[in-house]
């Protein structure tokens, strides 16, 4: 028990996202073992690590995926304990995740879906005209053809188009914190550039925070990285500033994994 619980609370509130000793399992296998992490408002954090280190799991658990069970620890967002909160309520508080594998929803158009989602997160229904203007402007930035607005959500989209569709959602929903789960994976150089432009615009316009899960530096080029976390076997193995990214790119994870 902390001696002065009030002070403890104030400390938590100074950070937008605070993860404390988080352990999580999928089925009966524990994947995260006591992860502690804090992201301040407007900060950009990078999470790197081997495949299978638990990076995507961490992102999904922050968003409240039903696939994982939290076995220990707490998650706070904006000072509120969200450990038990349903995913939609987290989204309403301003959390967002760009999926590594976006889901296809037949019969619901991208525009229709996004207008509903926007209404849910803001509590207001935007006029159709205003919404379309906003949507088309964001699509133009992402070099998406307008016709995608009337196509079924992600159905038949290429890998690159799906990622753009995720960033489009980010631009429309304007969350306080966005987790980008390998948004750059599987994209060619031009597509990474376009997607990065979208992410930059989000930062510029909303001043929102980012957690970027990635293997590459390309997507980070336009961003100012505040903090880097190396995840290894479900634990934070190292932390540092932007320089840590370069070190990993150069030398790999050897130093952190202790295995090789």
């Amino acid at each position: 028990m902390p001696l002065f619980p009030m002070y403890e609370r104030i400390d938590i509130m100074s950070e937008l996202l605070k993860i404390e000793g988080l352990s999580a399992s999928a089925e009966d296998t524990e994947i995260l073992h006591g992860v502690t992490l804090g992201v301040g408002e407007g900060e950009t954090h990078v999470i790197m690590g081997h495949n299978g280190a638990g990076k995507s799991t961490l992102g999904s658990v922050i968003m409240g995926s039903p696939e994982y069970r939290i076995t220990d620890g707490r998650i706070f967002f904006g000072g509120e304990d969200i450990t038990e909160l349903s995913t939609d309520k987290r989204a309403k508080l301003g959390l967002f995740i760009s999926f590594q594998n976006p889901i296809e929803i037949p019969g619901i158009t991208l525009a229709e879906f996004l207008r509903n989602a926007l209404e849910e997160v803001t509590g207001k229904r935007m006029k159709l005209w205003d919404f379309k203007k906003k949507l088309y402007a964001a699509m133009e930035l992402l070099e998406m053809d307008k016709s995608y607005a009337d196509r079924d959500l992600n159905v038949g989209f290429s890998g690159g188009e799906k990622k753009k569709s995720e960033i489009l959602q980010l631009l429309i929903l304007e969350p306080k914190l966005a987790i980008l789960d390998e948004t750059d994976s599987g994209l060619d150089v031009d597509a990474v550039k376009t997607v990065s432009k979208g992410i930059e615009e989000y930062k510029k316009r909303t001043g929102g925070a980012l957690i970027v899960i990635t293997h590459n530096t390309k997507i980070l080029e336009a961003l100012t990285v505040d903090r880097t976390h190396i995840l290894s076997a479900g634990k934070i193995a190292a932390e540092g500033g932007a320089e840590l990214v370069d070190e990993v790119i150069e030398n790999g994870f050897e130093r952190f994994s202790g295995k090789e």
């Binding site: 968003m63 939609d88 309403k92 019969g107 509903n116």
Partner: protein, 469 residues
Amino acid sequence: MEKKTQVIEVDRSRYDFRYEEDESEYLESGLTPEIVKAISEEKNDPEWMREFRLRSLETYLRTPMVNWGPEISGLDVDKIVTYIRQKSRMNTDWNEVPEDIKETFEKLGIPQAERESLAGVGAQYDSELVYHNVREEVAQSGVVYTDLESAMHDPVYAEIIKKHFMKLVPPTDHKFAALHGAVWSGGSFVYVPKTVHLEIPLQSYFRLNAKGAGQFEHTLIILEEGAYLHFIEGCSAPKYYEAALHAGCVELYVGKGAKLRYSTIENWSKNMYNLNTKRALVEEGGTIEWVSGSFGSHVSYLYPMSILNGRNARAEFTGITFAGEGQNLDTGAKIIHNAPDTSSYMSTKSISKSGGVSTFRSAVVVKENAHGSKSSVNCESLMLDRISRSDTVPVMDIRTKHCDIGHEAKIGRISDETVFYLMSRGLSEEQARAMIVRGFADNVSKELPLEYAVEMNNLIGLEMNGSIG
């Protein structure tokens, strides 16, 4: 146009209200030659029809009960009231319709729809049509839209009816076709002359108000060469505890190069046994398009059949079935390719929820002479929980090598991953599921006139309401 995207909560009372009926209006329940003669008397049948009814009754009595589909032992036909006398004669002036009946249809939005978007309307209340009207210009083009009873006494149409009535669906077809032949009442007769195109639809609305009763309306539509018609059929009934029976019959004759679109949104109450028979005969170069939404009833057996009888005849069937708690809906379609170069396309969706059972049953028959024909059958089912059930029974009977037949079936559930994806954008679990179901049904709602698409979305919303936890 922006589509309806919100799940609007529908007040079920829109369908559930009912009026007390006057006991004296009932004919005795049960099936005897006396009852059938009494119905025939009431309706002032011509002699041939009276005999037809009595022969059908004999057929009915010696035909065994259906034994291959959903359980219908809860239906005791002897307890069903087959005919209810009407308080007033059929009207063409809405103001003449009795007050309570008028109010019923007004609550269902029928007169409003007529004013706004229909070329003609028929409204049946229990056993008889209470209202029938077509727009002046439609009548002038030679289109006939009236009740069968008066058409049978018309010097011009009497013969046509005699020639076509229950020829596509003979009383010997199955037990409930025989029952229909004996006690049928109400329904519509539509005749569209050669090359006449009706740009706006005609609509019939069937309302079964009385409890423990049956509705046996007969719809006979004849399209002459090159004609076009969109006919819409809506049905509903308030909820009673006694079983009710709907054994209607629809016979559609599509002439050379003619095109008929037949849309149905069926929302019978969940004590209804819906044993309806629909059949279309399509001549050379003609097209039948069925759009069918089945939401209501306790048990349904419904497989509209298209007989492609001339070269290049086409059939398209788009259907959706939504089976909730206590519902066993056995639906599908049949296509008979009986001429060369005919084509058929079937696309159905079925949804089952809260223990509901939904069965898709189809038959595609390609006769020896139907070389060069094409058929594509596609059915998708969605089960919303672990206690619901979905079956697919596709039958193909192909008698020629020279045809192109495709079949695709998918059965699935809503994955947690999909729900998570939508919830991560701020939609509640219930909203997420409703959105997925609406998306699933989208290809059907696209086929419906706008008001009906909205209605269908509302029905889905209603069914999905409170589906979580």
